[in-house]
Amino acid sequence: MTQPVLSIEHLSIDYEVGAGVFHAVSDVSLVVPPGRVVGIVGETGCGKSTLAQAIPRLLPEPPAHYRSGKIIFQGTDLIPVPRGKLPQVRGTGIGMIFQEPLNSLNPAFRVFDQIAEAIQMRHWREEGILPVFHPGPTPFDYTHRPLPEPVDVLSRPVVPGNAKAAVAKKVRTRSDFRKEVLEYLRLVRINDPETILDLYPHELSGGMRQRIMIAMALSGKPALLIADEPTSALDVTIQAQVLTLMKELIDEVQASILYISHDLGVVAETADDLGVMYAGQLVEFGPVAEIFEAPRHPYTKSLLRSIPTRYKSDWPMPTIPGAVPNLSRLPRGCRFHPRCSLAKPICAQDPGPVLRVIEARAGSSSSHQASCHFAEEVASLP
């Protein structure tokens, strides 16, 4: 049994703003096992982005407030880590791909400088020039899934905290960095990396920028990669290109990935396990195939049903009545019950079982859970 790269336990995050308290994330538990892709889907404002940014502690902390729970990364809880130590986790521990390719690259620096900077940070940490985040009691097992064809840049040297002196400090020239950056650009299938290197982000198209963002995140060789809607802002054909690239990289890189998206189609194509979020809660979690075949939460079911594949003659399209509740005034009981067609009186009183996802094992039925009183009935409905 391998230790999960990331396990979130009962995490609750509030935003305390002038007008009140917004429960952005409530009691979410989930596990990212090594080498697996965990997808999270949900509508706007369901807390998925908050969750993504909460893991590397990117949320600005006065309005955001970690009310309870743990974010255990490689065996260590990140919430009590002081701010000054967070850079040790970021980059080499957790990498992140952002949604807006327009904004996620610094407009004032060339592509080369931005990627080289990330590589530099990794080298310094590997060589012990900068402190390394203590990886925790059990080192992560990188041989979980054999590489189909080992790629040189990705053979990540494991640097335990006490082996600093073992690595020789090496002086790197600009051309060394150039070589390394080029390798990463080739990794993300950029055709003409030598030219791209010296360009500024605004001279590149959205798809190209997102590839560079991916290269940048990978160049830190993170153990966990968080992809926050990496393709949502792109055009359809470009999205397909980046999506297939992501999937190829998933196979090559072997990093564990947390993949956030609002698009069911996208997660269906990428994720191994899937979590569905609604109004700050994780309402269903399980292997992606099972969720698509037999959803156990009414919300997931109606979400799947409202994927529009109809013509005008099939009017009307099925919808979920009502609107997503305001996160500062959540309904009592199950948060979905005011919109649920299967709601019974108990749903307005009792929120239903909270998911206790410790480890989702592929194929085992116990790993598919839903936070609904009538999960079994929902699954058996047509």
Binding site: P87, M96, S104, A118, R125
Partner: protein, 339 residues
């Protein structure tokens, strides 16, 4: 993409071309103010001069407007900027005074950049908290103190306390030739160490006061530009590389914030130049500001030709500062195409 060296040259040339109509406008406006709007100016301008001079002046004003403008315009362009009522030619005086003012302004700009901008970053970093409030009170105070009050406080109360001199460029006339008319530079050229220190000690107080008073713009601009930049995703993605907070703030965020902040340079230059009028007078600095105070101020020695020259020189100074800001913006922001 339009950012080669030739493009840069074209870019700068173009900015120069765009300058010309503004310069012409400056000259015309100065003419309007000094010739057309003036109500019986001769006795006032030439208070202490002889009757012959006043009559000559009156005759000049009696000429048709076009002739007046032509005379004025050709005089300006030819470098013959007239003489003061006491018979001193204006041009040499101004050309000697200009470097001194430049030295003062550049020094205070230097102080402003190296103190004001980091203060702006600090304010943005602690936005809404005490660090921010402190910085804001500081720059708003500078903003709210009239220059002369600042200068007087510094000269009368602060200077004795710090043991700094409050008048002139040097304590004693320098034994070396004043090549550039910039006190510190001249001393350095002459390799005269004690005089360098002496010149610096004379320079620091006026430059410091000027910088403190005009710092508001730079700090505020930096602060609001930083506030705009900090929530952007590229700052988060820089954090996600594992960079320290300092690098994220001063390399990634400030680099972009500065692009916006350069636009303030032009405005600041105007403020600094205007500030020299009072500062140089109070600190006895032999620059254009003091000259302007003398020829324009109510209690000084009125000097018609000198007044025109001073106003035009100040305006050109601001225009050139704006030009530099504009070019700097183009150079700093890679998104600007040099075309």
């Amino acid at each position: 993409m339009g950012r080669s060296l030739e493009d840069l040259i074209i870019f700068i040339l173009k900015r120069f071309l765009q300058l010309l109509p503004v310069l012409l406008g400056v000259i015309v406006l100065t003419f309007l103010v000094t010739h057309v709007a003036a109500i019986d100016p001769c006795p006032r301008w030439y208070q202490k001069a002889s009757l012959a001079v006043i009559n000559h002046c009156k005759a000049q004003f009696a000429l048709p407007l076009w002739t007046q403008f032509w005379n004025y315009f050709t005089q300006l362009l030819s470098g013959n900027w007239g003489t003061s009522p006491l018979g001193v030619p204006v041009y040499p005086v101004i050309s000697a005074a200009f470097p001194a003012t430049l030295e003062l302004v550049l020094t205070s700009m230097f102080l402003m950049i190296f103190i004001g901008i980091p203060l702006g970053v600090i304010a943005a970093q602690f936005a809404g908290r005490w660090g921010d409030h402190l910085v804001r009170v500081l720059y708003l105070s500078g903003w709210s103190i009239p220059t002369y009050v600042g200068a007087i406080i510094a000269a009368v109360f602060l200077a004795p306390f710090l043991g700094l001199p409050t008048s002139g460029e040097y304590s004693a006339p320098p034994p070396f030739p004043q090549v550039t008319h910039m006190s510190v530079v001249d001393a350095i050229i002459a390799l005269n160490f004690p005089y360098t220190i002496d010149a610096l000690s004379h320079l620091i107080l006026p430059a410091g006061v000027l910088a403190f008073i005009e710092m508001g713009n730079a700090t505020r601009m930096t602060r609001s530009a930083m506030l705009e930049v900090l929530p952007l995703e590229y700052v988060k993605s820089a954090r996600m590389k594992g960079l320290s907070n300092f690098v994220v703030l001063y390399k990634h965020a400030l680099r972009n914030a500065l692009i916006t902040a350069t636009t303030v340079l032009g405005v600041t230059a105007g403020g600094l130049l205007a500030g020299t009028v009072v500062i140089e007078e109070v600190f006895g600095w032999p620059g254009i500001g003091a000259y302007a105070f003398a020829v324009l101020g109510g209690g000084g020695r009125p000097d018609f030709d000198g007044a025109i020259a001073v106003v035009v020189v100040f305006a050109i100074g601001v225009v050139v500062a704006n030009l530099i800001a504009d070019i700097l913006y183009g150079v700093l922001d890679p998104r600007v195409e040099w075309r």
